[in-house]
Symmetry: C2
Subunit: 135 residues, 2 copies
């Protein structure tokens, strides 16, 4: 169904990724830990180690302003640019998108400054269309 996209996951990595996929939204590391207690998880480090790898593989993103993690919304997580996130402060829904043009402008700035970019965080906080009171 999905193209081959990631280096085979270990059991723990698969469990953590499964939790995030099933959740369909952001989870904190400790929330994941609680979800996986029945699967044998006992300590935060088990979660963090798996998350580190999943982030490295690009299958999971870290939301810095939430101290939480979310499964990448791209099917199969094939190659794609830097992700940005819109986070609704009312309902908690997170929308991922790929602001290529904006990134290009940010990269222009880094080039002019001689700054070697390794990672970009773009997070928008606000209210989603559903939650914006319509009347």
């Amino acid at each position: 169904m999905s193209v081959e996209t990631h280096p085979d996951l270990t059991k723990n990595q698969a469990l953590v990724f499964g939790s995030l996929s099933d959740a369909g939204g952001p989870l904190t590391a400790y929330a994941i830990l609680d979800l996986l207690r029945d699967s044998g998880f006992r300590a935060p480090l088990q979660v963090y180690r798996a998350l580190d790898k999943l982030v490295e593989y690009g299958m999971v993103h870290r939301l810095e302003s939430l101290n939480a993690f979310v499964a990448c919304s791209h099917k199969g997580c094939s190659s794609h640019g830097t992700a940005a996130f819109a986070i609704c402060e009312k309902c908690g829904v997170v929308s991922e998108f790929t602001p290529d043009k904006a990134m290009s402008l940010l990269r222009d700035w880094t080039k002019s400054e001689g700054f070697q970019l390794s990672r970009t965080t773009i997070e928008l906080r606000g209210t989603c269309r559903q939650c914006a009171v319509p009347n």
Copy 2:
């Protein structure tokens, strides 16, 4: 020397802002607490309360990816757009800039989605010109 820019700060707010200004770079809340023990600070909450106000006034920015705070680099903190930050992972230097064009594109996205934007986080991690090995 500086134009009138902020609603008079309370003693604690002034102390915290002074610490950040003097530091010339990011500090964590607990680092500020340690700096201000001699001034009578005893508990984290004293720092966090002051920081909340300073951020609200736009005089201090929170760096989400660092869990730290930095004084706004605009003199007098007069009106300005959303700030972005380039953080050198080698030397820790933080450069603030105002990516108006990129923000405009991000706002285009929010408008098309009906997302009401309240706050934007843009943080670039990488290596600054000084720290990039030149040979």
